[in-house]
């Protein structure tokens, strides 16, 4: 069953060097929103590509992960690869064997790398594969999080994740949010600082992202300052939010 078309479908979504990559790696600190960004990127790419896979590679935290959006992804035609323990609440770190297929296959893969620096360290075992397929690495940033609140700390986090994963960060995604309290202003006010952080390490800002329903509709595909914008639907929710 397909989901009802959302308002975001009115826009084509942001483009950039990252959108030409066959393999996208999405990483970030805890609470950056990387899983939500990864899920939405996979859904966005699926609109123009036939073979899209989301790989849930959070080896650390069994709570709240992109595998939880499996039904929505599969309904939209996105394949989901996750450790066999995902969704079972077993507290067992595991890397699914299928990930190795991504490096030499033809389709599009979006990797959601959770678990902060420790999770990234697990992924470093795959870095040769990522290098072979020219993977593009996006680091998601939420300036409302204590450890990435300003340019200095964002740059340090980029260093930490790159060192742990063995994957240099190619571009940043500004996903600054306070969950339901977010609005366009919060995001617009944060992009300058995220750009500054990136400039210190020679890393460009790929795009900003926010929940569609919380952003001014007239912004469509870009913030008023021209920053490309990914309008997202929330697919990962807390159990007490479910109306069932």
């Amino acid at each position: 069953m397909r989901e009802a078309p959302a308002r975001e479908n009115a826009t084509a979504g942001p483009v950039g060097p990252w959108s030409a990559a066959r393999v996208l790696v999405v990483l970030g600190a805890y609470g950056s929103g990387k899983s939500e960004v990864a899920v939405n990127l996979a859904l966005l790419l699926r609109r123009t590509r036939d073979d899209v896979t989301l790989v849930d590679l959070d080896t650390i935290n069994p709570y709240f992960r992109s595998n939880d959006a499996r039904a929505a992804l599969e309904a939209a035609g996105v394949r989901v690869v996750a450790p066999s323990t995902a969704g079972t609440n077993a507290d067992v770190p595991a890397v699914p064997g299928e990930v190795h297929g991504a490096f030499d296959a033809a389709g599009t893969f979006v990797f959601d790398i959770g678990g902060e620096d420790m999770g990234a360290r697990v992924v470093s075992s795959l870095r040769d594969g990522f290098a072979r397929c020219g993977a593009f690495v996006l680091m998601v940033v939420n300036r409302s999080r204590p450890f990435t609140a300003d340019a200095g700390r964002i740059a340090d986090m980029a260093d930490e994740l790159a060192a742990a994963s063995g994957l240099p960060v190619d571009a940043l995604v500004d996903n600054t949010n306070l969950l339901g309290e977010s609005d366009g202003r919060l995001l617009l006010d944060s992009v300058g600082e995220v750009r500054t952080a990136g400039a210190r390490r020679g890393i460009p800002l790929a795009f900003a992202s926010g929940v569609d329903a919380l952003l001014p509709p007239e912004w469509r595909d870009a913030l008023p300052d021209g920053t490309p914008l990914l309008r997202m639907r929330r697919h990962l929710t807390y159990p007490y939010e479910n109306g069932a």
Binding site: Y30, G31, N61, P62, Y63, F64, N89, D91, N142, R143, S144, R145, P146, F147, A149, N177, L178, L179, E181, Y238, P239, Y240, N242, G243, A244
Partner: protein
């Protein structure tokens, strides 16, 4: 980390850790267990920058006894764990109660019994509020229901512990520990602990030494010690009861729920109102002392047909609700276990059955 935006997005476990540091906690001893390990991660990162001590103990038993030692020396000290680890600490709880040592313990509870699972549960209510260790003692037990409240109650737990020389237990659950929410008021608190003339900090040759102990060989002295403890607990019960009461006046049904469960119930109250059923909520913030007076007062409202206790267990807090209601009104129970959360629909059905027993309007 000392300067932060006015409002930040924090995981429940991080809020506990940051709050403890800002409350002046400079000693943390713990042993990792899901779903609270982020507290230890955070403490490992942060303690060094504030000149504190983070120590991963060899076991939960070791950690609680390190807490005993640090508390005896007058330090603001905390340990955290999840259900099976909290079980291991129970002997330490009893010794801490006997020696009257102020400290803070957090249980980010998971489901049991035994190894159980890592999902949220409230099956540790009895253990938290009725003892768990041996002997006649009480811990003050706080039950936050949001990340902001995890933060605030952790700060307040240190004050409460110092004021009464007791162990303050924060009973959270896996959902609260893992979820993220905006948090404000992160400004540093005055970390000065209340004067602790009883602490074993060295006499400097100027006075007789203090003793931290729970052993009293002489039965008369031990009974006197017990009576002293009971008088202290009675004072806590008089002064420190906290709960949130919402819409109890004129309600047909009053739901009692704490923590994560109360969040689900809040949504149900809105749905019930749309059907014309007025539902009140009593959310205990202190599980011990239990807000018996508020529950009794709610039951006394003529409009209230029955109370419904919703919990993530087989029926634990409902016993305290029944004691408080004392037969004035029927008290029903709805619970889920094993990490399952009650859906809004199933709670609403229980409410409908009380408010509209014939199925009509």
């Amino acid at each position: 980390m000392d300067r932060l935006p006015d409002r930040v997005l924090m995981k429940g476990n991080e809020a506990i850790a940051e709050a403890a540091i800002r409350a002046g906690c400079r000693h943390y001893f713990g042993y990792p267990i899901t779903p609270q390990t982020e507290i230890a991660h955070y403490m490992a990162k942060r303690m060094k920058s504030v000149g504190g001590v983070f120590l991963q103990a060899e076991s939960e038993v070791a950690a609680i006894n390190m807490v005993y030692g640090a508390a005896g020396a007058g330090a603001r000290v905390m340990t955290t764990s999840s259900s099976p680890g909290i079980s291991l600490k129970q002997e330490g709880f009893s010794y801490i109660a006997g020696a009257e040592l102020p400290c803070v313990v957090v249980n980010v509870a998971r489901c049991g019994p035994g190894l159980g699972g890592i999902l949220p549960a409230q099956g540790d209510y009895f253990q938290a509020t009725k003892g768990g260790g041996h002997g006649d003692y009480r811990n003050a037990v706080l039950a936050p229901a949001s990340v902001q409240e995890l933060y605030q109650l952790t700060v307040e737990a240190f004050d409460l512990a110092d004021r009464y020389r007791v162990l303050v237990l924060i009973l959270a659950d896996g959902t609260l520990g893992q979820m993220m929410e905006p948090v404000s008021h992160l400004e540093p608190k005055d970390a000065t602990a209340a004067g602790k003339p009883w602490a074993t900090v060295g006499t400097g040759g100027k006075r007789f030494h203090n003793t931290i102990t729970s052993i009293y060989i002489d039965p008369e002295r031990l009974e006197a010690h017990n009576l002293h403890l009971q008088a202290k607990y009675a004072k806590i019960a008089r002064n420190e009861v906290r709960c949130e009461s919402v819409g109890v006046e004129g309600a047909e049904v009053v739901v009692t729920a704490f923590g994560t469960t109360a969040r689900i119930v809040r949504n149900v109250i809105r749905q019930a109102a749309e059907e014309g059923i007025k539902v009140g909520l009593i959310r205990p913030i202190t599980l011990w002392p239990f807000p018996s007076e508020a529950v009794a007062a709610a039951a006394a409202h003529p409009s209230v047909k029955a109370l419904l206790s919703v919990e993530l267990n087989a029926g634990q807090m409902v016993e305290d609700v029944r004691l408080a209601v004392n037969g004035a009104k029927p008290v029903q129970f709805h619970g889920r276990m094993g990490g399952m959360l009650p859906t809004q629909r199933e709670i609403l059905e229980r409410i409908r059955a009380i408010a509209r027993p014939e199925g009509g309007t």
